[in-house]
């Protein structure tokens, strides 16, 4: 095997210059942005110092992290915050919400998705539980402070006994009420939900029920029975207005924060806030959320990031005067010095297998000094210069100025590969689907998007096409019955031709085989146009990548204007939008097909033998493209499935426009 040198590197380690996932950040540089990090940590520490079990510590102002310009490391700072706080906080990363009327619903759904992620990297194990597992255990064990018996019995035996006796449980709930009066009257429900989660094995039904209740979905009668809730505690209803859904979501979030007093604080991070600037109402609601979190959610610290230009020019002026004071004094990010630049470059080159001698060769005698002659710069600026310098050293011709369409196509393809490489970016996102059917589709092939105010579920309408969209990630039979009935009403009274509800591969399949009673209603809805539209993983990656790319353009992370990106995306998705508009001609009977499944293209899993072969192959090659793995091992899976299947292995991915290069990471850490 040829020795790695600057000229034959399989990847350009400097191309990875935008952090997409706070739990997967490149190695930090000593000293860079330490003061802003320390400032946030210092504020967080106030939530911990002198805290006793159950204390309700009021929130500090939202920590406003400001970057003088793009590329100073906002998301990287959040990653370092996640890394430094580690198990001291329940860490929640929030992407922008899309619907101002349901902002708390979006925040809650994202919070639950983040809660279901493991504490550390890798798969769930006993020593690496999910955040919700740790939370449920932590709160339940923290409740021992409310014990009035002799306390000689271990806490887990005590709590098991409490749950065996209805009277003891009532008593514990009453003590919890005395400690935290404001749990919306759901003290016993929270106890049962958290106990049900904490004391159930992985993949147990009870865990799924607990998560469903926290998400604010109505439970089926057998689920209520299984977890032992009182009927009144099943407070999510099948029919709820947006305002009711939003308020229930806020109550659930408040419950989590208040109960965190028995365990550890929450850290909420609002990133990519430039997205809110696309709609004045979104900016206003963002300010409103920060105000309400400050005023009503204890035991948590909120962090919000923004570029200075976007903050002063768009966000701050759009936030109500009274809410502006809920942000801290700005915590500003720093530019990189030449000494730090040297360290950053060294780390990146070491990580792809180069040695110190080769790294010196990269610096050359004058390159770095000349680069810093006009002064310090942003980290991204340095990475971009370094990427270009490497290409020059490799004799790769600077590519001629590409046509804007080709350039955006490359950016989009890279973004799709980024989403394919990170499973966390593939989870169901109501916000991304709303954005797709509202902002992206508007104006494509005469689609005119409007908010269908009269209907709760089918809230988005493509006017001239009479196509409606509802957004529901849950699997409650009662709620689907309402959705189906709404679809029938809209078809019969408003002339709706198609009523689409997207489903993604990580969601439970609906309708479920056991839905006997509502089966005929769903069947009828399907005949009048209900389309429970399953998106395959490739389609999910494309839609999520589209929103991320647009968000990157708004933040100035990519070299293209947001309007240019949006126009390109509209063209790219035009056929998909046409397909969504198409309905069976009235002369033909409508198909009685409950779910529009993506065409079966490839298997969705690798066998364990195949997985072992894949990992051995990557280890042998050290650097190999995902396409080569599939071709050479004659696998019949797609790139996204391959990458999903080898998650947790010691690999790093380098997404590019054409493929994803996979690196086996057994290199000594720099």
């Amino acid at each position: 095997m040829a020795e790695t040198d600057l000229k034959n590197l399989a990847v350009n380690p400097f191309d990875d210059d935008v952090v997409k996932e706070p739990r997967d950040i490149p190695v930090s540089v000593l000293g860079l942005n330490d003061p802003p990090l320390q400032s946030v940590l210092q504020t967080f520490t106030k939530l911990e110092n002198g805290r006793k079990q159950g204390d309700q510590i009021g929130a500090a102002k939202a920590q406003l992290v400001i970057s003088p310009e793009r590329g100073y490391g906002k998301s990287h700072l959040l990653g370092r915050l996640f890394e430094t706080l580690d198990r001291r906080a329940t860490r929640i990363y929030l992407r922008p919400f899309q619907d101002p009327q349901k902002c708390w619903h979006s925040i809650l759904l994202q919070t639950v998705q983040e809660l279901e992620r493991t504490e550390g990297p890798g798969l769930e194990t006993e020593s690496n539980p999910t955040q919700i597992g740790a939370f449920a255990n932590g709160v339940i064990s923290g409740l021992t402070v409310l014990r009035i018996d002799d306390k000689s019995e271990p806490w887990f035996k005590w709590i098991r006994n409490v749950f065996k006796s209805r009277k003891d449980l009532h008593r514990l709930a009453a003590k919890l009420r005395a400690h935290i009066p404001n749990l919306n009257g759901r003290h016993e429900a929270w106890l049962r939900i958290l106990y049900g989660y904490a004391f159930s094995p992985e993949d147990d039904w009870k865990r799924a029920i607990a998560v469903k209740w926290i998400r604010g979905e109505p439970l089926e009668p057998d689920e209520v029975e299984e977890i032992g809730l009182a009927t009144a505690d099943n407070d999510a209803k099948a029919e709820m207005t947006n305002a009711e859904t939003n308020e229930l979501s806020f109550h659930r979030l408040a419950g989590l924060c208040r109960l965190a007093g028995f365990y550890r604080p929450f850290l909420f991070c609002f990133d990519q806030t430039e997205f809110y600037a696309t709609n004045p109402e979104l900016i206003r609601m963002f300010g409103n959320c920060i105000e309400r979190m400050f005023a009503e959610l204890p035991n948590q610290l909120t962090v919000a990031t923004a570029n200075q230009g976007n903050w002063t020019g768009q966000l701050q002026p759009g936030i109500e005067q009274a809410h502006r004071d809920r942000f801290s004094t700005p915590i500003e990010l720093e530019s990189i010095t030449d000494v730090q630049a040297k360290e950053l470059i060294r780390n990146r080159l070491l990580s792809v297998g180069l040695n110190f001698g080769q790294i010196e060769e990269f610096y050359g005698t004058t390159w770095l000094t000349k680069l810093f002659e006009p002064g310090r710069m942003s980290v991204r600026n340095l990475l971009q210069h370094s990427a270009e310098h490497l290409r020059e050293l490799q004799g790769k011709q600077r590519s001629p100025e590409k046509d804007s369409k080709v350039r955006i196509e490359d950016l989009f393809s890279t973004q799709v590969n980024v989403v394919k490489s990170k499973a966390a970016l593939q989870s169901y996102s109501q916000d991304a689907l709303m954005w797709f059917s509202q902002d992206l589709a508007n104006g494509v092939n005469n689609v005119l998007v409007e908010r269908a105010k009269t209907n709760k579920w089918f809230s988005t309408k493509w006017k001239d096409q009479s196509v409606y969209f509802a957004f529901e990630g849950g699997d409650s039979a009662q709620r689907w019955k309402v959705i189906a009935n709404d679809a029938i009403t809209l078809a019969e009274k408003e002339g709706a031709k198609k009523l689409i509800v997207f489903r993604t591969p990580d969601l439970k399949k609906v309708p479920k085989p056991g839905w006997k009673a509502i089966g005929p209603i769903i069947d009828k809805a399907v005949t009048v146009g209900l389309d429970i539209h399953s998106l395959d993983l490739a389609a999910v990656c494309e839609i999520h990548a589209a929103r991320d790319l647009y968000s990157d353009a708004l933040q100035g992370n990519v070299d293209a204007k947001p309007a240019e990106i949006l126009t390109w995306l509209k063209t790219h998705f035009a056929q998909k939008i046409v397909d969504l508009c198409s309905v069976t001609s009235p002369s033909q009977p409508k198909q009685k097909k409950k779910v529009v499944e993506p065409e079966a293209k490839a298997p969705k899993h690798l066998s364990s033998k195949q997985k072992t072969e894949v990992l051995q192959f990557i280890e042998l090659k050290r650097f190999v493209s995902a396409n080569d793995v599939i071709q050479q091992l004659k696998l019949s899976v797609s790139v996204e499935i391959l990458l999903k299947e080898i998650q947790g292995a010691p690999i790093k991915t380098f997404p590019g426009p054409d493929t994803v290069v996979i690196q086996w990471r057994n290199l000594p850490s720099p």
């Binding site: 310009e69 200075q308 230009g309 500003e332 002659e373 006009p374």
Partner: protein, 239 residues
């Protein structure tokens, strides 16, 4: 290879003792002594300083002196925002060996206008200039220059004055529009640009391009072309 300088730098103003250095670097005592000697000879580190926590080493830029004590004090006062912090409380936070520089550092910070001392009875409180500017956005304006009789202050003074005024006007955010600076100082665009480039080269200022799409005519007017950079700088931050 162990980067001992990096380890010492990482400790910042807190410094690091021999035991921790040995533990973090995994070096044998003789090798550690050699490297310390070498770094000291290159003026990259300073120490050992006797403190309550033992003998500590510091990276040169963090060595205990009036400046490093000033950095620590200013950080604490700035973090307090508009909340008045008792000078005695701040002094308690400044541990050995920085504590012996406390009084001088406070004097220096007051003299350079970074903090203000406010007296109430026998108590003295400290308030950071950023908090003052946020509370009184009009403070430190050109009226002040006129009153002090300096009809034609040197360029640097003029620029810094205008910079702090603009910074205060945007809630303490550091990156200020070069175009707006230009409209506040009495010099040509070329003179201002050349001054800013000089400050950036000297490490005293950072020049930033921008992501804002709809630049105002003022911002566009101030755009500064930076050698070696594709995009012009639109804003500047003084350190």
């Amino acid at each position: 290879m162990v980067d001992l300088h990096a380890i010492i730098s990482e400790a910042g103003v807190e410094g690091i003792g021999l035991t921790k250095l040995k533990e973090k670097s995994s070096l044998k005592k003789a090798d550690l002594d050699d490297q310390i000697k070498h770094l000291r000879a290159q003026h990259l580190i300073a120490g050992p300083f006797r403190t309550g926590k033992g003998n500590l080493f510091y990276a040169k830029e963090y060595q205990p002196n009036i400046d490093s004590a000033g950095i620590k004090i200013e950080g604490l006062v700035r973090h307090g925002g508009a909340k008045l912090l008792a000078k005695s409380k701040i002094e308690e936070e400044i541990k050995s060996p920085l504590n012996k520089f406390f009084k001088d550092a406070v004097r220096s910070l007051v003299a350079t206008g970074r903090i203000a001392e406010l007296k109430a009875g026998r108590s003295v409180y400290l308030l950071h200039i950023d908090a003052i500017r946020q509370l009184f956005p009009g403070i430190g304006t050109t009226d002040h220059i006129k009153q002090t009789g300096s009809s034609d202050p040197p360029l640097k003074e003029q620029v810094l004055h205008a910079y702090h005024e603009l910074k205060a006007g945007q809630g303490g955010l550091s990156a200020v529009s070069i175009g707006k600076l230009l409209s506040q100082v009495d010099c040509s665009k070329e003179t201002l640009h050349s001054f800013l480039l000089g400050e950036a080269r000297a490490g005293k200022a950072d020049l930033h391009p921008t992501t804002v799409l709809d630049l105002s005519p003022e911002d566009r007017e101030g755009a500064l072309s930076v050698p070696g950079k594709v995009k012009p700088a639109i804003t500047v931050t003084f350190r």
